[in-house]
Structure formats: C-alpha cells, structure tokens
C-alpha cells in the first residue's frame, strides 16, 4: 500500500467514525424492548444528566415550618410530607422532576403492556448506594415486597409475581390489569418506587434505618436531632450530577417569627410557609426573594360524618360550614390576596382534576344568612358546639380566622394544635385517626400526579386515609377500576370530584400559595431563582442537587 492510499483510507476511517458519532448523537439507539406484545404509550421524560462534574460547595440552611419525624426518612412506610426527605437521601425508578411528572431516574427505560398486566424497568448501568454497594433489581424486588406504606395492600393484591431478568431488568406480573400502576409507582404517590438498600435495611432494622437512613440519592444523611434538625452532606458520586451545595441542614422552626428572623440574620437560606402575619414583610424586604409556589387547595374534612349521630351527617350542616367561610377575606388576610378561593379539593395541576375557579366547579359563595337558615332547617337554630377544629400545622392563625367565621353562624368549637408528626400520623389514618364524630379537620395534600391518587387516598371506602365512604362514589369508583379506557377513567374521576364537592363531603377553601422565601446567599441572583420551583405541583423545591449557594 502506497502512502497516498494509506492517507486516503485513514481519512475515510476518520469520516466514518465522525459520521458514526454524529449519527449516534442525532438519533440515539432505540432501547432494547423488555416485554413482548403491544405496549401502552408512556410519556416518561429523560433525566437531565449534567456531563460536567462540578464541585459541591457551601451550606444550604432550610427552615421547615413543622417538626421532623424520623419516619419520613423511610420510604417503606410512606405517608405524609416525606417526599422532601426522599428527594434528599433516596432515589426512585421514576419520579416527578422539572422535566415532567414522570421522569426517568434510577430507571433508564420502562414498559407497560397495553393490557396493563406487566410492567418492566431497566435500571441505569453502574448504579450504587451511598455506601458503594451495587443497586440492583434484587433491591427493587425486595422494596416492593416489603413496602408497608400508602396503598401497600393494593400493590400486594395486584401482584402475581416479580421476575428478575438480570441485575438491571425487572418485570412485574400482575394478576389483573393494574392501570394505575405507573401513577402509584411514580415517586409522588407512594414510597414503593424509592429504592432503599436491602443489605443495610436488614442489618439495621426499621428503627435503625429511621435513625440513620441511607439510600442512592444525592445527599448522604449525616445526623438528626429527632423532631428538631437533620443534616445531609453531598454525595459526589450521585449518577445525575454532584450536588451544587456541600451541606443541607433542615431545621424544624414552627414559629413564623423565628423563620423570618432566621432569614433576616442569614441563619436560614430558605424558609417555608411564609404566609400569614409576616408575608407583607417578606414581600417588602429587598434582601429576600419569594416564590408563591401554588400547591393545592385547603379543604375541610368531617371525620365520622357518615354516622347518624354526627351533626355533620346532615348535608345542610356541611353546606352551612362552606357558606359560613368568607374565602376572599381569608385569602386577603392570610396571603395578601395572592391565594385563590377555590371550588375543588384537588389542585388543577393534578392530572384529570376539575378546576375550582368557576370554569368547571364554582367558587363556593359566602352567605352567612343562608348558613344560619340551613342550620335551623337541620335542627340547629342556635347552632351547636363541636368537639375540635384541628388545623394543619402550623397554620393556627388561619384556623382561628375560620373558627371566627364558623362562630358567626353558630358553629362553636376550640382548636386542637398538634405538632406535625402527630397531625400527619393521625390524618394519614383517615377517619380512624380521629375519635368521635364532631370534629373538623383542615387538610391540604399537595403532590404531583393524577387526581385519582388523591381520590383513592381520601374519598373511597377502604382508602388508606379515607374520610369518605359513599355508595354513590363507590359505584363510580368501581366503574373506574374496571375500565382500562383512559377517557372513561378520566370522566369518572372528574365525576367523583364533582360529587365530593357538591355533596360537601369535603369543603374546599382556597388554592394555597405555599410561599417560600429565599435569602441573599442563594444562587442564582435575582428572579432566576424561581427555577427551583419548576416541578409541577411539588410542595417543596426539589431536586436538591441543583441548589447552589454562595460559598
């Protein structure tokens, strides 16, 4: 071979290699299928992997507005506001992210058969837990089998068997169509998809795990003072990117004034739940930035209303409760007018939810005269005393405003101020969490995902935290569960929402701006900071690995 032909062949090889690379970039190879047969169309977004591995620096101090519960570190017992901590320490196969409600995380590929009887996942290569132990499908299987949190029974009842194809590929076989599998397996609606290390969990036990959790998330757990504080350190080997900050501390500060003081003195960089008496001050402070962070609608629930001895058994009484509340004024006082009076108990950002702003469901009116009239018709011309009004922690001022409105029409009670772990534990049991049947519970449940997850949770008999058990709703729900037609399921889910609202089983109040305030150390400067709240309907600004502060 002469020199000329060698040069030509080298050039051709180079061009071929370049073309190959370019082709690879333009059209990534289609993932190798796992399941045979027709597949359901899934809309799962790709993870955003940062190719440049930066260095974690600085400390992000977060002021949580209620006490911490170590139980929130354990996805296997999922309930309550645990997602805040899951996104720190753990990781899920798929989870809500800024890219979309369903975003690949530990899994790089998922499939669901069109008959909804099989689901398959392929994990990313080289995944490991924070102790260096490999994360495999054996862990995924063990998590499924040992999950005991919300909807655990449903997952177990539906499961036929789990097939481990290899270390990265797993197939769930269901006894019958499990249409909502992906909805519930997605990180927002259960803890079953958040993978905890089997070897570690078995070694330290349930309590040991709560005391010292470990996972595959971007931050390693460092320490906690039960109920008070927890701190986390960046795990530089996190698959997506090294976290932007080196340390995150989460402090439970129930007192709004203390959170405000923390922000102003620089002891806190982020503080949650800044509505109420000091919101105006937050808005006016030039050193602070804030995000309205609309989450979900506040609503009232009546545990035990189904019992005839409960005064709330009568629809007219529940309607009177709704009519007694001056929502526009409440919004003005609590949120400086940025909240929105709302007619549904599910956020419009949840899939298949009805808008409660008057377009699909009316905004509930304020009519104390009619409320009194309804109470009189129901046999309570002088109103009545009920046992307790139990507000969401720590929105006690708001609760007292509502109690004042109720008192004006003759509904008298006192407020029970629980701390968050107690409140969350009680409300997560549904009706069973509250003895007696003369109590009103104020609730909010912001979470990404479909409306039906919330219906399943709160509004059907036997739901994990059920407050409602009505034959009318049960019939609709049975229809929903029997159908695999997405359009019909959507229609039925909306019908159930309408029944819940029109029969006042739950009384919506207003769409809550869960205002978060940010201190001057948080990067980026200026209003660009709002990108931290890009995950749709997420109550907290995850993912944490993207946060950055001045060093």
């Amino acid at each position: 071979m002469d020199k000329r032909s060698s040069a030509l062949s080298a050039l051709l090889t180079l061009v071929a290699v370049w073309c190959g690379v370019a082709w690879g970039q333009a059209a990534p190879s289609t993932p190798k299928p796992i399941l045979a047969g027709p597949l359901a169309k899934l809309d799962i977004k790709d993870a955003k992997i940062e190719s440049v591995r930066g260095i974690s620096k600085g400390t992000l101090n977060i002021g949580l507005h209620f006490g911490l519960d170590p139980g929130w570190f354990d996805p296997l017992g999922y309930y309550g506001p645990a997602l805040h901590f899951y996104y720190l320490v753990h990781d899920a196969l798929i989870k809500p992210m800024p890219q979309g409600e369903f975003t690949y995380s530990l899994a790089e590929h998922a499939e669901l058969t069109a008959s909804f009887t099989k689901a398959a996942f392929r994990l990313r290569p080289g995944l490991k837990f924070q102790d260096g132990h490999a994360l495999t499908t054996a862990d995924v299987k063990w998590n499924y089998e040992n999950y005991r949190g919300y909807n655990a029974k449903l997952f177990q009842d539906k499961l036929d068997r789990i097939e481990i194809v290899d270390d990265r590929t797993i197939v769930f076989h269901f006894k019958e169509p499990f249409v909502d599998f992906l909805d519930l397996y997605n990180g927002a609606n259960s803890g079953i998809g958040w993978i905890v290390p089997r070897h570690y969990y078995e070694r330290v036990g349930q309590d040991g795990f709560k005391a010292r959790p470990m996972g595959a998330g971007p931050f390693k757990f460092v320490s906690q003072e039960a109920g008070q504080q927890a701190s986390f350190e960046a795990w530089s080997e996190y698959w997506r990117r090294p976290p932007g900050v080196k340390v995150i501390t989460v402090r439970a500060i129930r007192d709004l004034a203390a959170r405000m003081a923390g922000l102003q003195t620089g002891e806190l960089d982020v503080a949650y739940g800044m509505t109420g008496k000091l919101l105006q001050r937050v808005m006016a402070d030039p050193k602070l930035r804030w995000d309205p962070n609309f989450t979900a609608p506040w609503h009232l629930m009546f545990p035990g209303y189904t019992e005839p001895s409960s005064p709330f058994h009568d629809k007219r009484v529940r309607q009177a409760v709704s009519l007694a509340i001056n929502r526009p004024f409440l919004v003005k006082q609590e949120t400086q007018g940025i909240g929105k009076p709302w007619g549904n108990w599910i956020s419009h950002e949840n899939r298949d939810a009805l808008r409660g702003d008057g377009t699909e469901l009316p905004v509930p009116p304020y009519d104390p005269a009619k409320a009194k009239q309804l109470l009189a018709e129901a046999g309570y011309p002088n109103g009545f005393d009920f046992d307790w009004y139990i507000p969401f922690v720590p929105y006690f001022d708001m609760a007292e405003r509502i109690l004042t409105d109720l008192r004006a029409v003759g509904l008298r009670s006192k407020m029970q101020m629980l701390d968050a772990p107690a409140y969350m534990a009680q409300t997560s049991k549904g009706r069973k969490g509250f003895p007696g049947n003369r109590t009103i519970v104020q609730r909010i449940d912001p979470r990404p995902g479909g409306a039906k997850a919330l219906i399943r949770l709160y509004a059907v008999c036997g739901g994990p935290a059920s407050y409602i058990c009505e034959p009318k709703i049960e019939a609709l729900w049975a229809k929903h569960e029997a159908s695999i037609d997405p359009a019909e399921r959507e229609r039925v889910a909306k019908e159930i929402q309408r029944v819940v609202v029109e029969d006042y089983y739950l009384v919506p109040l207003y769409l809550q701006p869960f205002v978060h305030a940010v201190g001057p150390r948080v990067l980026p400067e200026g209003e660009a900071v709002h990108h931290y709240w890009d995950t749709v309907n997420a109550p907290f600004p995850w993912p944490w690995e993207v946060w950055q502060v001045k060093g």
Partner: protein, 315 residues
C-alpha cells in the same frame, strides 16, 4: 370601784386590739393586695365590665374598612393600635388583635382563665399534698416510706417539662391544665407538711388525744390539719405565681388552654409575629398582666411567711 377595775382591762384590751389591728393593717402589702383584688374583680365581673365580647371581632366602621382594606364593608379591622397612638380608637382602648377582637376585653377574660386555672390548680395541689404530708408524717412507718419516696421522685421532675408531658397525654383544655398543675405541684406541699407534722405529733396535745382514745381521723382533721395551715397558706401563695407562669407557658407552647379562648400566655404566643412587625401592644399587655399577677402573689406569699412565723415576725 370593782366596776372601774373590771372596765380598765377591757378598755386596755380594746386599745390593744386596735393597736394590733393597726399594726397589721399598716404592715399589709397594700399594692399586691390591690393588684390581686383588682384582677380578681376584673376576672369575676369580666362578662359585665368588658367593653366587647371575647371571641367576636369588633364591628368596624365603613371608614375603617375603607382605610384598611379599601372596602366599604369588612368583617373586622385587625391590629388597631391603642387609643393614644395614631389610628387608635377609644372604644378599643388597648387596640385590637389579628382578628379584630378587643385586646382589653380579651385581657379581662384572660385574667379569669389565668386566675381560675392557677387558683384551682394550686388548691387541688395543696389539698392532695397536704393530705399526703399529714398521713406520711403522722402515720409513719410504711405510709411515710411510700409517700415520701414517691414525693422525692416527683420532686426531681422538672416541672415545666413534666407539665408538657402530661399535657400532651391529656390534651389541651382548661380543666386539663388544672389537673396538670395539681399533679405537678402536690409534692411540694407533702414534703413541707410532713416535716411540720413530725414535730406536731410529739406535742402534748396530740399525745393526750391519743391517750384519750381519740380516733386517728379526728386527730388528723381536728388537731394536725389546723396546725399546718400556716405553712400551707404560705406555700399556696408562693405556688400561685408559679402556677400562673406554668399555665402561661403551656398555653404559649400550644398545649394549655386551647384557642380561641383568651389566656394571657396564649395571647402572647399568638402575637409573637406582631411583635416583630412593630405591633408591640398585642404581646406586651398580656405580659404585663402575667408579671403583675406573679409579682403580687409572690409579695403576698412573702408577707404571709413573715406574718405567720413568730421568729421572723418579732425580729
């Protein structure tokens, strides 16, 4: 003559009584009594003398609504300052709170709750502790051992933490706070009373009663209890101040008197943010109320201690 001789001591006796009465009156801590008397009067007659209702917002004028919310009609105007400040009004002399409720009226009703809770709580504690102290001191043997060991153990418990623990078990409520105060403070009485009874039971009048076959019950209730009442009264007045603070602390922490009932501790707790926002009057007035009540009770307790102790009294 005999008549004159008989009258002379009587006159002398009268003047002695008068002089003694004058000395006592002159010695009485007038300011604490005045404060306690006023607070008690306010507490008892709150429903009559309070200018507004405790739980209902004061109805605002259209002008107030316009000025505050740019609305012609509104349910209430919050955070109206005291009358001497700009924007203040005479019909709400100490201003309104975050729900437009009259602060003065709520203070009056709050005095009622603070006093009732502290008085009854301390009273129950005194009753339990005194009875156990007398039993331990007089019966001796295993009665003494058991009661005093429990008392010792009880005394080691930090009162506020113990009260919070009990409160979280019992739940919030006025009568639960009373029960908690009784459960927290009885041991102080039993310890002091038992010591007193140990000395009393060796005295002749007790021994004579025993020799005459008087029942134990009669000895306890007729001979011992009246003789320990001085100690109990002094303790009672000193504990009263502590009870007010415990009640306020429990309510401040959200485990005492449940809202919307006005308790001074709760009023302070609810207005922490307002203090930060420059609305000082909302937290300061209940704070002054608590300070005055506690200080008065302590001064009265000190005075009683001196009056009822012959050694201190004649010093």
């Amino acid at each position: 003559m005999a008549t004159v001789l008989e009258r002379a001591p009587s006159l002398g006796g009268l003047s002695h009584v008068a002089r003694r009465s004058y000395r006592i009156v002159a010695d009485v801590p007038a300011i604490p009594l005045l404060i306690l008397g006023t607070l008690t009067f306010v507490a008892v007659f709150a429903p009559v003398i309070a200018p507004h209702r405790k739980l209902t917002p004061v109805k605002p004028t259209p002008a107030q609504c316009q000025a505050r919310f740019s609305m012609t009609d509104c349910p209430y105007v919050d955070n109206v300052p005291p009358f001497w400040m700009s924007g203040g009004r005479l019909d709400t002399p100490l201003g309104t709170d975050f729900l437009g409720r009259d602060v003065l009226s709520r203070l009056m009703y709050g005095a009622r709750i603070s006093l009732v809770v502290a008085l009854t709580g301390t009273l129950f504690a005194g009753a339990i502790g005194t009875l156990l102290g007398v039993l331990a001191g007089y019966m001796g043997k295993w009665w003494d051992q058991i009661i005093m060991r429990i008392t010792d153990a009880w005394l080691t418990l930090p009162s506020l933490v113990f009260a919070i623990l009990l409160s979280s078990v019992r739940g919030p409520g006025v009568w639960n706070v009373v029960l908690i105060l009784a459960l927290v403070f009885w041991s102080r009485y039993s310890r002091a009373v038992r010591g007193e009874v140990l000395a009393l039971r060796e005295r002749d009048f007790v021994k004579l009663a025993e020799i005459n076959g008087i029942s134990t019950r009669t000895i306890v209730f007729r001979h011992l209890l009246p003789n320990v009442m001085n100690t109990v009264m002094v303790l009672f007045s000193l504990q009263l101040g502590v009870a007010v603070i415990i009640e306020a602390s429990l309510s401040f922490l959200g485990v005492g008197v449940p809202p919307p009932e006005p308790s001074w501790g709760l009023m302070m707790a609810q207005e922490r943010e307002s203090l930060m926002d420059g609305k000082w009057w909302l937290a300061v007035f209940p704070g002054i109320g608590i300070s005055m009540l506690v200080l008065s009770a302590n001064m009265l307790g000190d005075w009683l201690r001196v009056r009822l102790d012959p050694q201190l009294r004649n010093r």
